[in-house]
């Protein structure tokens, strides 16, 4: 048996066709703040293997490295001057390697851990992922650098990391001869990069962590003030962090955290949606968990601040009317977050945020004092109009143990939405089978250069309030049942019709689903998942 294994070993080793390598080009030792360059290249193992398509993912630890820029090098070699290249970037994800295959076996990780795997990239705020795609009409040459990427080494002082081990990983690779659809086996030469003996670091760095459920932390800016004068300002990074230097120990500072309305113009109208309308309405009528009840719908006191959208001082029916008008594209109040009004910001130190005291109105404690021992501060951020915390930090539940979080109430619902070409028109149909949905809202985007919006056809029921509006290349539509007990009809409640401006063969990609939101008649938020 041993002999047989020894005999098979060379064949097993020969199963790989090429290797993907990545390595830094600089000479150690490194200092915090240094720029390092990481280059990627392939190495030929088997003769006559000439892939002309490379797609691979790598990831880097964004707490320890900050990407600066990248430079394509593959088009510099004489053979691949016409190669097409693409680099895509995502923050906050880390690859879930298959345990059944070696991490070095990049083609096996591609086939078994990424292709068709729903949880291939779970959220992880410490990591960023980049996808590199190179295709050419001829084979992509080996040994030449494909791409160089520059990173700045960050200080690990305010992280959970004690060293710079494994700061990058090669995740998977697809290498293919596209003319014959032949996939090749790829192994990693160096799958992880470790930076040894990184020295230095500013012990005076202060880290501000932004706490928000919004996935656009780079749209938030901070301003740190001492005695009313600004001493440091800037934007949060993709990890929701700001690393601030130049502050002094034992000095109390005040921080302002606000959304940059210009950067956020694309999503400010998505903050207040149909769930917010429904929750404010239920709170206003004192419905609680059932329409006939008299208990609170809100589960956190800060929702009374976020739901007070007409500056009257309390949450009542008028507030739900303001929010309902907003989703129907009518702006009748300037006191809540929208693209017309800009952001209306609420923030406070994480453990205080949301809980009123004599010192802090709704827990908006905006002070912090760096010391030798404490250099990391967390601040929760909310937006007026966002009572379901879709774009806001939900307070830490310590004040009312029996309170259930809004997120805790949420449930998933499969939804069938599709487009088709029908008699020369593009129709998008929403199909639902759940019977207790009292509110539903969709935001879709479409290719305005090819399609012209015609109408939304509603078949939701007789007593519901339906709405549809077109803003730029987006359609906002949906329904809400606020004054009666009728729910949205099951079946096909919505049909959206477009007219093509030019001849099209089909509709794939012409319309895409941007935001979906729904709420049941008991106020439970529904997370819609398109199947």
């Amino acid at each position: 048996m041993k002999k047989l294994l020894l005999l098979l070993l060379p064949f097993i080793c020969l199963s790989q066709d090429l290797k993907l390598d990545h390595s830094y080009t600089n000479s150690p030792d490194f200092q915090v703040g240094d720029t390092i360059t990481i280059k990627f290249n392939t190495i030929q193992i088997t003769e006559n293997v000439n892939p002309n398509l490379y797609v691979f993912d790598y990831e880097y630890n964004n707490k320890l490295l900050q990407k600066i820029e990248h430079r394509w090098k593959v088009t510099d070699n004489e053979t691949n001057t016409n190669a097409q290249v693409s680099l895509n970037h995502w923050d906050g994800y880390k690859f879930n390697f298959s345990d059944d295959y070696d991490e070095n076996d990049l083609s096996a990780q591609y086939s078994n851990a990424w292709v068709g795997t729903a949880d291939s990239y779970p959220s992880n705020s410490d990591w960023s992922v980049e996808r590199i795609t190179i295709q050419d009409g001829v084979g992509i040459t080996y040994s030449n650098t494909l791409i160089e990427i520059d990173f700045k080494i960050k200080d690990k002082i305010n992280t959970d990391y004690t060293n710079y081990n494994n700061v990058t990983h090669l995740n998977w690779m697809r290498a293919e001869d596209n003319s014959t659809s032949t996939l090749y086996d790829v192994d990693a030469m160096q799958q992880k990069i470790t930076l040894s003996d990184v020295e230095g670091g500013d012990a005076g760095s202060v880290t501000i962590n932004l706490k928000t459920s919004n996935d656009k932390p780079t749209h938030y800016k901070y301003d740190i003030l001492q005695n009313g004068s600004s001493v440091a300002d800037g934007y949060f990074d993709a990890n929701s962090q700001a690393i601030v230097s130049g502050l002094e120990n034992d000095i109390e500072y005040t921080i302002d955290i606000k959304v940059d309305d210009e950067l956020a113009s694309d999503w400010l109208d998505d903050v207040a949606t149909v769930t917010d309308v429904f929750l404010v309405f239920k709170e206003a009528i004192g419905a609680g968990s059932s329409p006939g009840g008299t208990t609170n719908t809100f589960t956190h006191s800060i929702q009374f601040l976020l739901g007070e959208v007409n500056n009257s001082g309390n949450v009542d029916f008028d507030d739900s009317y303001v929010l309902l008008s907003h989703i129907m594209n009518e702006n009748i109040s300037e006191w809540f977050t929208s693209s017309a009004n800009g952001s209306k910001n609420v923030w406070g130190e994480k453990n205080q945020y949301g809980y009123s005291t004599n010192d802090y109105y709704f827990g908006q404690k905006k002070h912090f004092t760096p010391t030798d021992d404490t250099k990391v501060f967390d601040f929760g951020h909310g937006l007026i109009g966002d009572v379901d915390f879709s774009h806001s930090f939900e307070p830490i539940v310590t004040e009312t143990p029996k309170a259930q979080t809004v997120a805790g109430y949420a449930e998933d619902l499969d939804l069938d939405i599709s487009t088709s070409l029908v008699n020369g028109k593009v129709e998008m149909i929403v199909n639902i089978e759940k019977e207790d949905i009292a509110g539903m809202q969709f935001i879709i985007e479409y290719d305005k250069s090819i399609l012209e919006f015609e109408e939304v056809k509603f078949n939701t029921g007789n007593l519901l309030t339906n709405f549809a509006s077109e803003r730029e290349n987006k359609i906002y539509f949906g329904s809400i049942s606020v004054e009666n007990n009728e729910n949205i009809k099951v079946g096909e409640p919505y049909k959206i019709v477009f007219n093509p401006k030019q001849t099209i063969t089909n509709t794939a990609g012409l319309v895409y689903f941007k935001t979906t939101d729904a709420v049941t008649d008991t106020g439970k938020k529904i997370i819609l998942k398109i199947k």
Binding site: L53, V55, Q84, V85, S86, N88, W90, Y93, V115, G116, T117, A118, S120, Y121, V129, R131, T133, Q135, N178, T180, S181, I417, S418, T419, S420, L421, E445, Y446, D447, K448, S449, I450, N473, I504, T505, N506, T507, A508, G509, L510, V511, Y512, F513, K529, I530, K531
Partner: protein
């Protein structure tokens, strides 16, 4: 010769009507040796990309576009014919990113998958 005559006689007497399917010309870049599946003309895309959906039989099929987190962001139901069907994926309105295209039957039985990146 005798065999040919018998064959001719058989065809002449048969009631079966043979309908010739219009065949769609398949560009070399979209040729697929497999019996069924999905192929993209390019894996780096700007405005739109041609695709070949090679189907096992006539019927309705789903073309799904999934984002990086494998969430469906666009879905079309097409009526396809057996064999090669040259269609388009229009990407101009999509945020610049990398996407997966999946082909399913109307009842969500998997047929094929490819991915592309936008410039």
């Amino acid at each position: 010769m005798k065999k040919l005559l018998i064959l001719f006689l058989f065809i002449s007497c048969s009631d079966t009507i043979y309908i010739e399917r219009p065949t769609q010309e398949v560009p070399e870049t979209l040729f697929m040796p497999q019996a069924v599946g999905l192929k993209l003309e390019s894996y780096i895309v700007e405005d739109k990309v041609r695709i070949n959906t090679k189907l096992p039989r006539d019927g309705k099929y789903r073309i799904k576009i999934l984002d990086f987190s494998n969430t469906i962001i666009s879905q079309e139901i097409i009526t396809g014919k057996e064999g090669d069907n040259i269609l388009n994926i229009y990407v101009k309105s999509l945020p610049v990113s990398s996407y997966t295209v999946e082909l399913y039957t109307k009842n969500n039985i998997f047929v094929g998958r490819q991915n592309f990146s936008m410039k």
